[in-house]
Symmetry: C2
Subunit: 370 residues, 2 copies
């Protein structure tokens, strides 16, 4: 029996930090936040296309944006799945595993799953695909959970880090030259000093949040680390096979709201890391967008037509919905100005994390339309 | 023969510093830039109403906004006059004097003219009217040119100053207690050090830009100071009396483009100043608007619905045309954010003087619509 490779793209986030670009109906992953003009989700699906065929690519998202996501992506409509509610990444991947097992009537050890996200900017498609292939091959060769680590280019405190053993001897090297290492341990988001030490060590890489495993290894490790999730995969798979949507929903809803890092990865015994040699950004803030888009001579990122005078290191983002709106920014540095057809946001570049407070206050005052 | 008092409201400015509020079709004087909700022009006309009846109030403006100005104000349509082109305040007042002389068939010494502007915020209507009455009475009593001086409340470098004689003895005091002084000299906009010395002296008052004179004194003084303007008043008056609009236009267009301060006041021999005891602002910048509108506890001026978080000493101005636009400002101090139905401007408070550069650049890129 042939091995089946599937990709699961987690696309359930809301991305409130990108308000007013992001809305409940058009969250971050449905926005064109890189210079390609494609949405992050479209990019994510296109990027993996030559490694895994579209019929084997699944998108897990919310009911609210399922149709928009399905319409935007070149995967079969039935592969775009809405979670009944939010149960964090552990719930999302249990849900995805059950759907994949129910869809392909083959043993779990014959299915390899690549878990990707829909909110990353990745520079070099070929290097990315080589890395994904290396990770898939490695976890298919021996039972392990695979991740992709990115060589850090700055002491970023917003990412988790993967620590490699001191000897830095790869467990394998793929035909394309991608090294796969055993993982010594994971580190949560560090403080600035620790981040600087990590970058200097050469042994700490950014955790890209992508995962690779055969479903048999996944289920076995999950059975140790979080039996409730492992049991839910089994019962949801059975329910899906008989078309019992209500049982899927009740099983899923009963799951705890925890991340896959906490539920599985931190407790797992055999983790390997493929070293990603491509530009990678978690597009979680305007800072990240600024790193991806081209800059003018004054260090500004300008999307859409706007006049910037005596303005430096700023981000001015105008959506097509605001194409008839003249935008002028004068005499400001390190500022973000976002103009859509029905909203305007102005803030310093480093205040992305507080945008949700603005959204909350606007919701309190107005309505749900925003 | 009874004396006739007329008011001339100069309303020809463009106010580009208030873009995107101000446009070619709705310049500053047609904007509600004070908390009354009325436009500056409406306020100006209403303020003088109890001193001078509407039939004797004239508005001098440009052809482009004449109809809008006439529609907005409670003066007869025929009293709203469009200048054929821009010839500064000296040209404007020669034009106005000719129209007044042609309209009222009485000798020039029987007509007193109050020259007001349409871009000032004035706090106390009664004190203003008492001051205007005192100035009118004084210039009717003996041949002189009258101005209104405002006791300075800060070392403003953006205004001209009026210097009083050292003895500070009034030439007259009106029944309402308004003192009228002889003027020693005028000073152009001073530097900061000079402005501070002016404020400390007690003898230097802000020049409010309002003028008072009988038309006979005006013409006599103008005949000395700028014969070309005096001659133009006579020939335009004659042309208006026979309905020769073409001759009015050619006479007007031939005038030099200079201010009344330069053409007349700096050379005039007998100038008096009524001391204005009311809050007065030349609304020439967002700084001035900020001084007029009420502030919240963080020192912000907010017009229209907007969410400001962690933002201080800023001005957020949203027009009714943008009522459906959600506006959020986060983590900024001393900023101006203007949002209209078709434009957004963001800048520090002290950069008003450079807004025209933004407008120029937008015009270059787009069209004349802005």
């Amino acid at each position: 029996m042939d091995r089946i490779r599937v990709a699961v793209v987690m696309a359930g986030g809301s991305g409130e930090r990108f308000w007013p670009l992001s809305r409940r109906s058009t969250p971050k992953q449905l926005l064109p936040l890189t210079e390609s003009g494609q949405t992050l989700l479209q990019e994510s699906v296109a990027r993996v296309a030559s490694v895994i065929p579209p019929e084997q690519v699944f998108i897990i998202t919310s009911a609210q944006i399922r149709d928009a996501a399905a319409a935007a992506c070149s995967v079969p409509d039935g592969n775009v799945l809405a979670e009944p509610c939010k149960r964090n990444t552990a719930g999302c991947l249990a849900f995805a595993a059950a759907h994949v097992l129910a869809r392909f009537n083959v043993p779990a050890e014959k299915i390899t799953m690549a878990v990707l996200t829909a909110d990353q900017g990745i520079g070099d498609g070929a290097a990315f695909r080589n890395c994904v292939s290396a990770a898939l091959e490695d976890v298919e060769r021996q039972p392990s959970l695979g991740v992709i680590g990115i060589t850090p280019t700055r002491p970023e405190t917003g990412y988790g880090y993967i620590e490699l053993p001191e000897d830095l001897i790869p467990a394998s090297v793929s035909a394309e030259g991608v090294a796969v290492y055993p993982v010594a341990r994971f580190h949560e988001k560090p403080d600035a000093e620790t981040a600087a030490a990590f970058v200097a060590s050469g042994r700490h890489l950014w955790n890209s949040g992508m995962f690779f495993w055969t479903l048999s290894t996944f289920l076995a490790e999950l059975g140790h680390a979080s039996p409730v999730h492992a049991a839910a995969v089994e019962s949801m798979t059975a329910a899906l096979r008989v078309g019992d949507a209500a049982r899927v929903e009740s099983e899923f809803t009963a799951l705890p709201n925890i991340s896959i890092d906490y539920a599985l990865m931190e407790k797992a015994r055999n983790i390997v890391m493929a070293r990603g040699e491509f530009r990678w950004e978690d597009i979680g803030s305007w800072e990240a967008v600024s790193r991806i888009f081209p800059h003018d001579e004054q260090g500004n990122v300008v999307n859409g037509d706007a006049v910037l005078l005596d303005t430096r290191d700023s981000i001015v983002f105008k959506t097509p919905g605001a194409s008839e709106t003249a935008v002028g920014v004068l005499g400001l540095d390190n500022i973000v100005v976002v103009v859509t057809g029905d909203a305007v946001l102005v803030m310093p570049r480093d205040r992305s994390q507080d945008v949700r407070k603005v959204v909350e206050e606007l919701r309190n005052r107005n309505s749900d339309r925003l």
